[in-house]
């Protein structure tokens, strides 16, 4: 198995890439919400569809909060799968 330093090094760029994709996803969502909130904005998705979207984004934020916790008592992957399994 790899030593800790190599685990950090070998997967750093890949994790950086995935985090940037998540950041871009949240930015993209918030830009769309802001666009739809403006007068004459493209309110294509309203009601139930909009609610489902908000729920999914809230789940992602919960997942990010789990990742940010400095805890060693539980595997983060399991915690996220349980979180996403609630829906």
């Amino acid at each position: 198995m790899l030593p800790a330093a190599l685990v950090a090094e070998n997967y750093f760029l890949e994790s950086r890439h995935m985090l940037l994709e998540i950041a871009a996803h949240i930015d993209r969502y918030e830009a769309a919400v802001a666009r739809e909130a403006t007068p004459g904005g493209e309110a294509k998705h309203v009601g139930e569809v909009r609610h489902v979207g908000e729920h999914k984004m809230a789940r992602l934020r919960e997942a990010l909060a789990i990742l940010a916790e400095p805890r060693a008592d539980r595997e983060r992957t399991v915690a996220l799968l349980e979180l996403f399994g609630r829906d």
Binding site: L13, E14, H17, L20, E21, A24, H25, D27, R28, A31
Partner: protein, 280 residues
């Protein structure tokens, strides 16, 4: 859909990549001079490399119906050797005379050292004196923000035609100052280490499409020429029209590269024919 790949390191790729690019609509590529993976020691090595990309590579691309253009430069990673840089720069004018060489690139910065900045200035200076286009590399990862700022500072101290300068590898943190200063910018799509197709489309939606080029670079490292096509698909699936996609992925390269008359591919417009005209 017709696509132009404005930054492509063809010598690092196989003929199969040319074939698949041709099958997916690529009509032209432009190949900047690049780092070989090790620091070259002799000016003659560069001269042969420039001959390869300006004389031989167009013949390889032509077998697949793809036009091939190129640029000449000493890569920023090798600019720490000022003697070598000076010697290679002396040969640039003979390559400017070649029928498919569009200008100077990719020059730019890697670690933003004093020698790198001097080399960047010398590259831009010779390009401007000879009426050439310029393609500027900005650094990777943690060095990007500082390096891009230094590129803009170096250029601000020179008498340059900003319409003829393309600052490449911009990302969310560096695009605005480059556009605000009046330069063209490029998004380079890499599987991991640069921009992604989705983030590129986000920036197109945020900043508009003027003065923006999209490329996948595709060199000998982890890279994929078809990230460009992924970007086209992502752009289209968000509801942008075929003509809007053509503006970004074909016509913008024509507009920038076409400032050098050697690049003679013209912007195109899709037209829906009436039933009458189809039947005649």
């Amino acid at each position: 859909m017709q696509i132009i790949q404005p930054h492509y390191h063809a010598i690092a790729r196989t003929a199969q990549d040319y074939e698949r690019m041709a099958m997916s609509g690529v009509v032209a590529v432009a190949e900047p001079a690049f780092w070989a993976g090790f620091d070259r020691l002799y000016p003659e090595t560069f001269i042969d490399y420039f001959r390869q990309i300006s004389e031989f590579e167009p013949t390889r691309a032509a077998q697949y119906g793809i036009r091939h253009f190129s640029w000449v430069a000493v890569n920023p990673k090798e600019a720490e050797n000022p003697t070598l840089t000076r010697e290679v720069l002396k040969h640039f004018p003979e390559f400017f005379a070649k029928p498919t060489v569009l200008g100077v690139g990719e020059t730019g910065l890697h670690k933003s050292t004093k020698n790198e900045c001097a080399a960047l200035e010398a590259h831009v200076d010779i390009a401007m004196k000879h009426g050439q286009l310029v393609l500027i590399h900005t650094p990777h990862l943690a060095d990007k923000a500082h390096g891009t700022k230094r590129v803009l500072e170096v250029l601000a101290g020179m008498n340059v035609d900003r319409d003829r300068i393309w600052i490449d590898h911009v990302e969310e943190q560096t695009i605005r100052p480059c556009l605000d200063a009046g330069y063209w910018v490029g998004f380079t799509l890499y599987p991991i280490t640069k921009c992604s197709p989705k983030r590129a489309v986000d920036m197109l939606e945020k900043y508009g499409t003027d003065r923006i080029l999209v490329n996948s670079s595709a060199d000998w490292g982890p890279s994929d020429p078809f990230t460009l096509q992924e970007c086209v698909v992502e752009y289209r699936r968000r509801g942008h029209s075929l003509q809007e996609a053509i503006e970004v992925f074909h016509n913008n390269p024509c507009r920038f590269l076409g400032q050098n008359p050697k690049f003679d591919i013209q912007p195109i417009r899709v037209e829906t024919l009436s039933r009458e005209s189809v039947s005649t």
